[in-house]
Amino acid sequence: MTKKGILFISLLTCMIALPMAMNAQCKQFAKNTCKASLDPYQHDGNYHAALLIEGEEAELYKTFYSDREYRIGVCGANNLEAVEFKIVDTRNGKVLYDNSLNDYDWKWDFNLESSQQLKIMVKVPVPETNVDEPQEGCVAIMFGSRDD
């Protein structure tokens, strides 16, 4: 095989392997860090995680049921600034919780008097420094619940 051929295969391997490795790490991060921290709430088995870039936003829609206690965890990789999240009533956009008013706490524990569809709005903040080289990292949104 020629030098060029070997270099081409090497680059191709890297291009394929890198995203796969990043995704696999995202799953490990969600499992080892975020899911583990839901305790004593029981994780529901759903997986919502993605590689986000500083400044990027995400939204998640989910129905939460009365007579259950929930923990929402929004976990960001440690190369990112503390991830911001808000919980919003999907019917009227009313903000029910904003973690920026609670020292950017990664979790929120709550229960409901009646079942509701809620929206979780997530933002990876852009740090004031190093804006020319935005970082990318895993962000996981996970849920745990238990009987009320």
Binding site: S10, A21, M22, N23, K27, I53, Y61, S115, Q116, P134
Partner: protein, 308 residues
Amino acid sequence: MNRKPLLFGRIFLLLFLMLGMILTGCNLGKKSEGEGSWDFEASGTLDTETQEQLNTAKRIFYALPSPLETAMLIKNAGAAYNEELMNPVSNSSKYITSKSKALNLGIYSTDLSYASLFDQSQATLDYVGAAKEMADGLNILDAINEETVTQLEEQINNRDAIIDIISETLMNSSSFLKENDLEGTASVVLVGGWIEGLYIATNLVNEHDLEDNKLVERIVDQKLSLDIMINLLESSPEDADAQAVLEDVKALKTIFDKITIDQGEVTAVEDPETNVTTLKSESSIKITNRVFTELKTKVIEIRNSYIS
């Protein structure tokens, strides 16, 4: 001097170093020192132009109740255990297409969760076998492996441990499908599990006892997830299985639209001692016997088409 071995050596050394940088740079497996401090770091930077483009597009996730959550809701509503309502494991050999395997992975996962929450040891083991067969058929690597089955057998009398194992297998399946761009299949699995939950719940309700019935409330609450489910399935337009299932969900929506849920404004009140917030609101539901029967009939029709 032959330089080829040297060249190969350098390239493999380069690849090895890159792999090492990916893995060690991410600090995998290290324990977090406290809540909110994360031990993972992904390397990689993007230029400002890419950043600006990405800022205009939001990632949107639609979360459906997982098979485990569905089973928890049924049990929490005071429902009974009825094995006759579950899809017999003997049916597992019938499922040949990817659609039937995905639907029945969801269905068997709900049955598995339902059995385990009611401490049904033998059924739990039987249904994990059926779910494994479906996952293997979809080439979902290691979602449910022999180790999982052994762990279940060892912990069969420890309900919390069993639930943890089931949660782990569901997460493995879901993450595998999403990471391999099989979002449509992941959605079909969830719809299968959700339909099974609706089938079990509607069949456990006495149709003449709809008032102040917790299980009926849980069934009606599913109306709140219908638009999430439709959006989720519509986000995989290229997936024929997801689009076929979407038609079933839309047919159910026309019936759910006949049910009324009146909800007042939600107010968040935090308990300063426990830091737990209560979302206070008033809500009332209205469902007639006729609509309930229509819903139950449709659910039976769809579910039976999935398991046949």
